[in-house]
């Protein structure tokens, strides 16, 4: 069996002030999977960090869908969205950073639709697990994380890693 070191940091972005979105573009196509780790807070309240993907530019079509489950401290639930242009990458909350770990599986494989699976944890609000499909065989070379309701606070970090299979 061949073995090779991988799980390589590609880029990190740290919010220097209050920002509404973070974009990673020109993502190298030399890995098998991408992992995005978010540690972000916001100014006002419990909020989901939306994730949009694309090739060359962010796809504005309704080519995403997702299924999730969550626990909010009192109950568990599950839901889904169809024919939509975003999924969720993480949670954030007032004064508490929320965590998102997003796996973009086979992101550079042009034979297949892309599957994204993520865990979002906001310790003062809820924990969630999402699985999403981007119905496109294009490689993902750009994505954007944004908070539709509140800005990310200064110091929020977004780190992208690449994992290459043997």
């Amino acid at each position: 069996m061949a073995a090779g070191a991988t799980y390589v940091p590609i880029a990190t972005q740290t919010a220097s002030g209050s920002v509404s979105s973070i974009t990673f573009s020109s993502i190298p196509q030399t890995y098998t999977d991408l992992v995005l780790i978010i540690n972000a807070g916001n100014l006002t309240g419990d909020s989901g960090a939306e994730l949009r993907v694309g090739n060359g530019s962010i796809d504005t079509g309704t080519t995403l869908s997702w299924t999730y489950m969550q626990g909010d401290g009192s109950s568990a639930g599950s839901g889904r969205a169809t024919n939509i242009n975003y999924t969720y990458a993480g949670r954030s909350n007032t004064n508490f950073a929320g965590i998102g770990i997003v796996h973009l599986m086979n992101y550079s494989n042009t034979n297949v639709y892309k599957t994204i699976i993520s865990k979002a944890e906001s310790p003062t609000a809820r924990v969630q697990v999402f699985v999403s499909t981007w119905r496109s065989t294009s490689a993902i070379d750009i994505f954007r994380v944004s908070d539709p309701s509140y800005n990310f606070t200064a110091g929020s970090t977004f780190t992208l890693y690449g994992i290459a299979a043997a």
Binding site: M1, A2, A3, G4, A5, T6, Y7, V8, P9, I10, T32, D33, S65, W66, T67, Y68, M69, Q70, A76, G77, S78, G79, R80, T82, N83, H103, M105, N106, N109, N111, V112, Y113, T115, I117, K119, V129, F130, V131, S132, T133, R135, I163, A164, A165, A166
Partner: protein, 179 residues
């Protein structure tokens, strides 16, 4: 001369790879499909293993993970929590290690990320955990599973097996070692 590590390290540019997470092997399914995937002769030089799977199956079924060729269902234990898009469910029994569930769909790939902890430690029963799911734009499941094999033997081979049908073309499974 004693090295001044801080100064030297500060001059390194580019990405640092620590060798603590390594790709061991990958299997990709061809046009004929595959009834199972096996990683054999797994080196014992890591602390943990991770399998990152991306797959379609020809039938609606669970995935199961078999260790060291043990196929006896009752040798395994599992618990899981899952969401169907409208409800949550949970279960547990003395049965196959659950490495995901998939409903057959054209073009829709499921995924699982399986962590196999202390796989070479002969003092411990082997425990795995899995994050898994698929979404087909109107149907889908997402879940978390734990599983165990009631054996302290070091794991030297792992098989992924659909409970029905086969893995279809472009499915891929990558095995990684974590030190």
């Amino acid at each position: 001369m004693s090295p001044i590590l801080g100064i030297y390290a500060s001059q390194i540019s580019g990405h640092l790879v620590t060798n603590s997470y390594s790709s061991i092997a990958t299997q990709t399914v061809g046009s004929g499909g595959a009834s199972s995937i096996t990683f054999a002769s797994i080196p014992s030089t890591y602390t943990h293993l991770q399998i990152r799977g991306f797959y379609r199956m020809s039938s609606t079924a669970e995935n199961k993970l078999e260790m060291n060729g043990v196929t006896t269902t009752t040798s395994y234990y599992r618990h899981f929590l899952q969401g169907s898009g409208s409800a949550t469910g949970a279960g547990g029994n003395n049965s196959n290690t659950m490495a995901g569930y998939y409903e057959t769909n054209a073009n829709i790939f499921g995924t699982h990320i399986i962590d196999i902890l202390d796989y070479a430690d002969t003092n411990k029963i082997k425990v795995v955990r899995t994050l898994w799911g698929f979404d087909a734009n109107g149907s889908g499941y997402v879940g978390l599973s734990s599983g165990a094999n009631a054996s302290t033997s070091a794991i030297t081979s792992i098989s992924l097996v659909p409970n029905a049908g086969t893995y279809t073309q472009f499915s891929s499974f990558a095995l990684y070692g974590i030190k």
